[in-house]
Amino acid sequence: MGILEVKGVNKRFGGLQALGNINLDIAENSVHAIIGPNGAGKSTLLNCLVGKLIPDTGSVLFDGQSVLGRKPYEINQMGISRVFQTPEIFGDLTVLENMMIPCFAKRDGSFRMHAFEHSENEAEIIEHAEATLENVTMADKRHMHSASLSRGDKRRLEIAMCLAQDPKLLLLDEPTAGMARHDTNNTIDLLKRIRDELSITIVIIEHDMHVVFSLAERITVLAQGSPLVEDTPDNIKGHPKVREAYLGEAA
C-alpha cells in the first residue's frame, strides 16, 4: 500500500468525462510521473488530489486518510505541497518573507493570532527559511522583491517554499512549462537532488519527455481521462499504446 491511493475516481464536467475510473497507487519515496496528451485529464486529477475539485465517485487516500471534502489548506497541513504550472509566489513580499510564510504555517497551523511578536525575532523560522534557501542556492537573493525574480528563480523559490514545510508528498504541475532550456535543466537538477537527498514522494505532471525520463521511476500515461499504462520509463518509451495515444494510429 502506497502513500497515495487513488481508487475508481470519476469526474464529469457536463457531458465531458474528464476522468474515468482512475486508479493509482504511489509508493512512498518514489518519483511518479503522470503524462498524457492535452486534455488527458492530468490537471483535473491533480486538482482532485489537492481539494480544488471533488471527484464524483471514488476515493483518494493519503497516508491512509481520505482527502476528499477537505479544504486545500487542510490537505496541505496533512503533508501535501503543490507547485503550480505558473509559479505562484507572494510577489509583494521579499524572498525571505516568502520562505517564512510556509515555515509559520508548518509551526503554527492554519491560523494563529501572533500579532505582537516581531517577525525579525523569529530566529528559528528565519534560520530554517534561510537554510532552505541555501539548499536551492538562492540565499544571496533573500532580500530581493520576489516579483523581480527571473522565471527560473520564481520556480526555484516556489519549490523551496514547499520544501520548507517538509512535506510527505510534493505535487508538481508541469514545473518546467514555458521555461528556457537552461532554466529547465536547472530545475531538473534541483528536483534530482531533492529526489536523492530528501525522503519525499514526488508526483510530477509533465509534457516535456526530457524532464519525465530524467526524473521518474514510474510513469502513468493518461489518455482521454483514463489510465492507459503504468510502467517504468524504459518500458514506456517503446510501448505501442503510448505511441498511439501521442502520435495517432498511423505512427
Binding site: 489537492v50 479544504k71 486545500p72 489548506y73 496541505n76 497541513q77 505541497s81 503543490r82 503550480f84 505562484e88 509566489i89 507572494f90 510577489g91 509583494d92 513580499l93 521579499t94 518573507e97 517564512m100 510564510i101 510556509p102 509559520f104 504555517a105 508548518k106 503554527d108 497551523g109 492554519s110 491560523f111 494563529r112 493570532m113 501572533h114 500579532a115 505582537f116 511578536e117 516581531h118 517577525s119 525579525e120 523569529e122 523560522i125 532580500h143 530581493m144 522583491h145 523581480s148 517554499m161 514545510q165
Partner: protein, 405 residues
C-alpha cells in the same frame, strides 16, 4: 525600544513630537495676520485630524495589508459614537468607560458584518460592506429611533440617569465629558507675541490615544500576523495551498480595523457628546478610503497624513470666500482682480471638493503610493545626488525595498 527596531522607533518619535507640539506647529501665523486663516492649530480641528487619523490607521490594517476594500467602515464609527453617548447618558461622564464600550460594540458589530462579507472578495466584498453600512445608516435614521434618536441625533439631556455621577452640580446646564476631573473642553491659551497657542485637554487625550493606536499598528505591521495579512493581499491561492486558512486572518483584520473605527467614534463623542446617523453615511466611508489612498495604503504613516490633508482642506479651504479672495488680489488693477477672483472662485469656499478631487487624481496618477511615495521620491533624489557626489553610483537599486515601510 518597546519591541520596535530603530527605524520604527524613529517613526513613532516623529509622530509623537508632531502630536505633542501640534498646537504650535499648526499655528505658524500670528493671529492678527492675513495668513491666520491658514492656521490649523485650534483644538476642534486638531481633534478632527487625530480622530480621523486613528480611523484611517485602523482602516489601513484592513485595506493596506489585506487589500480588502471595505466601503462601510463609517458604520463602525457611528456605532462607536452611539455607544459612547449612551454611556454618558446612563453611567458617567467619564470618557474611559464610554470609549471602552464603543470599542467593544464596534468590534462585535464588525465581527458580524465581517463574517458575512468576507465570504466574498474584491468588488463583491466592497458592495456587501457598503450595503451593511447603508442598512445601518437607514436603520439608525428610522426604525432604531428609540436608540439613536433618529434625525435629531442622540444628545445628552438633563434628566439622564448617569448612575455614577449622581445629580448634576449646576442645574440647567449639560455636563461635559471628563477624564480624571478635567473637562475635555478645558483649554489653556498661551499668548506669545502675536501668536495664540491653544492647549486643550481634549486634544491631548486624542493625541495620546493616537500614539497608542499608531504604536499598536506598527506592532501589527511587523508581526508574523501582519506578514500573513500581506500574503493574503499578495496571493491568496498560494497562501491556501501553503496550509494557511485566510478567512480567520482577514476576519481578525476586519474586526481590529472595526475596533479602531469604534475607538475613533468614541473619541468623537467624547469631544462633543452627540451622535448622529450622518456619521454612518456612505460618504463618510468613502472619505476614509480617500484618506488611506491619498496618504499611502499599506504604509504606516500614510493614513495619518491623508487624514490630516483631507481634514485641513475641508476646514481651511472651505472658509476662503470671495471677500477674502478680493483682499488677496486687491493690489491688482480692478479688471484683472475680478478675473482672478472668478478663476480661483470655483476651487475654494464651497468648491473645495474640486481642489481636493484634482489633487487626489494627481496623487493617484503620479504617486500611486500616495503622499508617502512622494516623500520617498524626494528623499531618494537627495540620496542619489549625495551618492553621485561620492562617486558611488551602484547602491544596489534592486535590493530590499520594504513593502510595508
Amino acid at each position: 525600544m518597546l519591541g520596535l527596531n530603530k527605524k520604527d522607533t524613529g517613526l513613532l518619535l516623529i509622530v509623537a513630537v508632531l502630536a505633542l507640539f501640534a498646537p504650535i506647529i499648526f499655528n505658524p501665523f500670528p493671529s492678527d495676520s492675513a495668513m491666520a486663516q491658514f492656521n490649523a492649530g485650534y483644538p476642534d480641528l486638531m481633534q478632527r485630524f487625530v480622530i480621523f487619523g486613528i480611523f484611517a490607521i485602523g482602516y489601513n490594517i484592513l485595506f493596506g495589508l489585506t487589500g480588502y476594500l471595505s466601503f462601510g467602515h463609517a458604520a463602525f464609527l457611528g456605532v462607536g459614537s452611539y455607544a459612547a453617548v449612551w454611556m454618558f447618558k446612563l453611567l458617567s461622564m467619564n470618557i474611559l468607560p464610554a470609549i471602552a464600550l464603543s470599542i467593544v460594540i464596534a468590534g462585535v458589530f464588525a465581527a458580524l458584518i465581517g463574517y458575512v462579507s468576507l465570504r466574498r472578495s474584491g468588488i463583491y466584498f466592497a458592495i456587501l460592506t457598503l450595503a451593511f453600512a447603508q442598512m445601518s445608516y437607514n436603520l439608525a435614521y428610522s426604525v432604531l429611533t428609540p436608540i439613536t434618536n433618529g434625525e435629531t441625533g442622540l444628545q445628552l439631556s438633563l434628566d439622564d440617569p448617569r448612575i455614577l455621577d449622581g445629580a448634576p452640580e449646576s442645574v440647567g446646564s449639560l455636563p461635559y465629558p471628563t477624564l480624571l476631573g478635567f473637562e475635555m473642553s478645558d483649554t489653556y491659551v498661551m499668548a506669545a507675541g502675536g501668536w495664540q497657542f491653544q492647549f486643550s485637554v481634549g486634544y491631548y487625550v486624542c493625541a495620546v490615544v493616537l500614539l497608542l493606536a499608531f504604536y499598536l499598528s506598527i506592532r501589527i505591521f511587523r508581526s508574523p500576523f501582519g506578514m500573513m495579512l500581506r500574503a493574503v493581499k499578495s496571493n491568496q491561492q498560494r497562501l491556501n495551498y501553503t496550509g494557511v486558512n485566510a478567512r480567520p486572518y482577514t476576519l481578525a483584520a476586519f474586526v481590529i480595523s472595526g475596533m479602531y473605527a469604534g475607538l475613533a467614534g468614541g473619541l468623537m463623542a467624547s469631544m462633543d457628546p452627540l451622535a448622529g446617523a450622518d456619521r454612518m453615511q456612505w460618504t463618510a466611508s468613502g472619505e476614509v478610503v480617500l484618506m488611506t489612498i491619498l496618504g499611502g495604503a499599506g504604509t504606516l504613516i500614510g493614513p495619518v497624513l491623508g487624514a490630516g490633508f483631507i481634514k485641513y482642506f475641508e476646514n481651511i479651504f472651505s472658509k476662503i470666500n470671495d471677500t477674502i479672495l478680493h483682499q488677496w488680489f486687491a493690489i491688482m488693477p480692478d479688471g484683472i482682480e475680478d478675473v482672478l477672483v472668478a478663476l480661483v472662485h470655483p476651487f475654494v469656499g464651497k468648491g473645495w471638493h474640486l481642489t481636493l478631487g484634482i489633487l487626489f487624481m494627481l496623487v493617484v496618477i503620479f504617486l500611486p503610493g500616495g503622499l508617502v511615495e512622494g516623500g520617498q521620491r524626494i528623499a531618494g533624489l537627495f540620496r542619489r545626488r549625495k551618492t553621485d557626489n561620492d562617486g558611488d553610483g551602484d547602491t544596489g537599486s534592486s535590493t530590499s525595498k520594504d513593502p510595508a515601510e
